[in-house]
Symmetry: C2
């Protein structure tokens, strides 16, 4: 395997700072001893800062999908009604997870590239009685759409006495998501996105109202049982099952980096880089996949492939000639869009490097582009 | 946190060779690209060697418990009959997992410290019609018992047309378990035991007969769905959800170390070290928890706490004064036994160091012990 270091501009995994990578080589520790307890406690406290919450927060040894299954499996009992708006691959996966769980899905199909609105959710809540959960993918990684009405959606959900699950896997830590202020009952993220940590951990927060539902749920999942996870944390600051200790070391370091920077600066940095990307795309004559600017994501940028430019050629050239990994489209968007992750360590440097490579790649592929136009537009954003 | 390096003689996690630890700091790669495919393919091929199987083998981003849930969730549909002999904490957990899954458990309670026999399993199979699965914890980590009749149990299980699940988490790679020869339908292990890798990955093998059951199962778990896991592997050498890439790097290196040594030598090394430990315990007047010598485990050694020696004092002194981590008892054995992991990199050096520390600890705690007696008995084993 080549160990050439690529610039990872994927929507996860993302570039991992050396400090975080090096944390993984600490000597192994037992997960039932004081060294782990101290590490675990500090991680949870720092995660509460990142989630902007006083709710309970837990780390799971699984991918982000495992975290979503934890939320669904603990809140939803077979037969429970769950509203799931669908507007991309991950919201459709949310729907499928609820179905697989035995929940009764009330699907709100939304045109891909758009976000569900509070009015749509309210409409569904008015029509259906006894909806238990509304499950929203806050940042649809497949379409580059952020559901900007999440606070309004949350208000409606609460008015109808339902619970709100927010899959924030590809956004938390990179854009504002104040869990308590917005009343998110279960919020989920993954280690390998905006936290700039390697993949392998999921993180979930659980509100008091969510706990009531969990406690009443007669059939919680075994591996992801929140009651057991809470019991082990409260009694011993441990996890019920063996945790992925090196990834805990990494997460600990990644969270310390976030605290050093501060959330506000971090969100601003992501927003500025995203704005620079969007301005550059515009200057290069590329069109953005999401339909409305207000829902443009600051962490996953989805761009329509220009006519005559083939997906594999674009990504292949970016990688082989310029050393930058970007993503293609997922599901029905494969071959129609490309996606850039704007996450974690993203700064002016990675942004300009990527834009420059993109310009050159388009030129290499004979797409008419004025070299430097995108770069200039992006620089303008960083200057202002 | 102290970064003092302890000798880890726990029944998992175990000491990780530097080569394996260092593998984790390789530059991050995307999990949908050729670098990951190459890595993934090599891991699976080497795992087939370690499992001694031509069956399909998969790596899951979860603890070993997640691997067991994968086996149970894919093979057992609600209402299916499952025989589970119970003789310790982990076999009781197996029973609970099957129950939680909705399976109908036929429990065979066995005295702790003993192993279930083929005759007991046959008896249960004769009495109950249509048993779908027999689930055995091959090495009961809580009692130090290895189910030596597993090949005979397998024969009986096959005669009755049932499927065999073997939880081999704390033994595979440290003692013989030829999956194909013994007809184990689903065999599970974890990364952090005899493979000498950090924790965070589970590994499962799936036989053809098991596949038939999986394919007929109408309600497989979402995160651990073997059909999806197979589809992603066969179509793209990928995993359905984001894998814990640094742990894959580590597992790759750990498996290469195993291939370099060879399974036969590796099993012999574990067996010799275990024999040295058992002879040393005997020479020190300590009694072994398992009742029958034939079931003494070569990877987890469970020893009765001698009268007057308190659990916390024993383990505390071993750790603080001699830098060695050993484990206490689990569940109802807490305070009655201590346990030593004999796994992974275990060699004469770690064995003698641990025995020496144990002798000195016992002396420090005023337990009458002839210093050097255990060490001498152990050395005798290594000499022969």
């Amino acid at each position: 395997m080549s160990e050439r270091r690529l610039l990872i501009m994927l929507p996860g995994p993302t570039n991992v700072p050396d400090r975080v990578t090096r944390a993984m080589v600490k000597p192994m520790i037992g997960h039932r001893g004081p060294e782990f307890h101290e590490l675990h406690k500090r991680i949870i406290e720092n995660l509460k800062y990142v989630f902007q919450t006083r709710n309970d927060v837990y780390v799971l040894t699984s991918s982000g999908t495992g975290g979503v299954m934890c939320a669904v499996g603990n809140l939803v009992a077979p037969g429970d009604k769950v509203i799931v708006p669908t507007y991309g691959v991950f919201s459709e996966r949310m729907r499928d997870k609820v179905k697989r769980r035995g929940g009764k899905v009330i699907e709100i199909p939304v045109e891909w590239g758009r976000a569900p609105t509070a009015a749509q959710i309210e409409d569904a809540l008015r029509k259906e009685k006894d909806v238990k959960v509304v499950a929203i993918v806050y940042n649809e990684t497949s379409t580059g759409v952020t559901v900007r009405e999440l606070p309004e959606i949350s208000k409606v959900v609460k008015e109808y006495g339902a619970l709100l699950i927010a899959d924030a896997i590809s956004i938390l830590g990179g854009d504002d998501l104040p869990v308590d202020k917005w009343n998110v009952d279960v919020c989920i993220t993954g280690s390998q996105k905006c936290l700039a940590c390697p993949p392998g951990l999921a993180i979930v927060s659980v509100s008091e109202e969510a706990w009531e539902a969990v406690e009443r749920n007669p059939c919680r999942p075994y591996y992801f049982d929140l009651m057991e996870i809470r019991r082990f944390y409260e009694e011993k600051v441990e996890t019920p099952f063996t945790p992925a200790v090196p990834l805990f070391f990494a997460l600990d370091e990644a969270l310390q980096i976030i605290r050093e920077e501060g959330l506000e600066k971090r969100f601003k940095r992501h927003a500025t880089c995203a704005a620079a990307f969007y301005r550059a795309f515009e200057a290069l004559g590329l069109s953005i996949y999401p339909k409305e600017e207000k829902n443009f994501s600051n962490t996953v940028l989805a761009v329509n492939l220009p006519e005559g430019v083939e997906d594999g050629a674009l990504r292949g050239t970016m990688k082989e000639r310029y050393g930058i990994l970007i993503a293609g489209g997922m599901g029905k968007l494969k071959g129609y869009i490309f996606r850039i992750g704007c996450m974690g360590i993203i700064s002016e440097s990675e942004t300009l490097t990527t834009i420059s490579a993109l310009e050159n790649t388009l030129k290499d592929l004979n797409y008419p582009v004025k070299l430097g136009a995108g770069l200039e537009a992006a620089k303008e954003v960083f200057r202002s």
